[in-house]
Symmetry: C2
Subunit: 197 residues, 2 copies
DNA sequence: GCCAAACTAGCACGATCGTGCTAGTTTGGT
DNA sequence: ACCAAACTAGCACGATCGTGCTAGTTTGGC
């Protein structure tokens, strides 16, 4: 048969072009033409891989979730619950370009969900995964909590980390980011410190 | 001269049409045509009031911020710092249709900011106003904090309330909202309880 | 060498977009 | 009564959009 069928590499390359367009011009500028131009390919080539625009956006969203998950899974575990928790939480807020891009894409997708219903299950899946991770962190920090309080604290941590992330993303004073880490470290200490409460 | 120049009422009517379109179809569906149709007027009439699309969106954003500010200012003060703080924070999360719509519009504007730079100062202004409100609440709950800790706690409260709001907005299980209020009440108690820390 | 399948490139169509522009329609002051 | 200003309504233009479609171009198995 013809050339190798390594569509995967091409798909990822196009998805990254989608992210760049979102990052630079906003989600409203994502079209098959702009993405193809950003990726340096013709529209026809793009549409050979992604026949419709929806499939392009959908794959880009899924890949973003997958990348974030992989990055989280790759963070080293030292065994110290507090240190590990802070290390993981640091990966959830936009401190580096890639995590920042991920969050910007995520936000854009949330805002575009009414127009593209296919994105809703992806957003919900990411939401639940992050909540589950927060629950895991809380459980490792304060293992003696009963189930209802664990759920409450997990939701609280989830809200705090997403709020911090959102503010870091749009803060007019982009210079200082220490407060964000400090804020998360305080929460970790609070959870670990008051074991039985 | 001709008819009365009560452009204001018309402008607000059109801005509310913008909000409905954002709410139903997403920010991407906001065009002079869709908004005019939603408001039940002709495109020409809309463009007599808002010559360009940017002015339409800009006014809608500003009006949303103003409405939210008014709603916050209208919350009754009982003198009990904790009770008042919870009452104000309740107005910042999407528990009722109007505050929910405000948040959806706000989120859409954040996502569209790269495409419409005129929205950036509006978003920053709203950000700073909300941060200032949080600082005010923290100061009334824990008046003995030094300045740096007050700033830290204000940012933390700001992040928490925005995170809770974001999650309430997109939570797959829209049924229970009690955890959100409980979460904010816990934070208020924590701030008021550990006065000097 | 060769050919079918994978891939690239691009044209064309209808729809929608923002906006400049002009023509009707109301309406309040005189 | 009347007219100028405020307002309503809509046409037209170029740009961009998603997508159906058809040609070229590569390329691996025979």
């Amino acid at each position: 048969m013809p050339r190798r069928i390594d569509t995967h590499e091409r798909k990822e390359q196009l998805a990254e072009a989608v992210w760049r367009v979102i990052r630079d011009k906003g989600i409203g500028a994502v079209s098959v033409r702009t993405v193809a131009a950003e990726a340096g390919v013709a529209v026809g080539s793009l549409r050979h891989v992604f026949p419709t625009r929806t499939e392009l956006v959908e794959f880009s969203a899924r890949l973003m979730v997958r990348r974030a998950t992989e990055r989280l899974a790759a963070t080293a575990r030292t065994g110290d619950a507090r240190r590990d928790a802070v290390a993981i939480l640091r990966h959830l807020i936009p401190l580096e370009p890639d995590s920042r891009a991920e969050l910007e894409v995520n936000l854009a997708l949330i805002a575009e969900a009414p127009a593209t219903p296919e994105l809703v299950p992806i957003r919900d899946e990411a939401y639940r995964a992050l909540l589950g991770l927060c629950a895991h962190l809380v459980a490792s920090l304060a293992p003696d909590l009963d189930e209802t309080r664990l759920a409450t604290e997990a939701r609280r941590l989830h809200a705090l980390v997403d709020g911090v992330a959102l503010h870091l993303l749009t803060d007019p004073d982009t210079a200082d980011t220490d407060w964000a880490v400090e804020c998360l470290r305080d929460e970790v200490d609070r959870l670990a410190g008051s074991r039985p409460r």
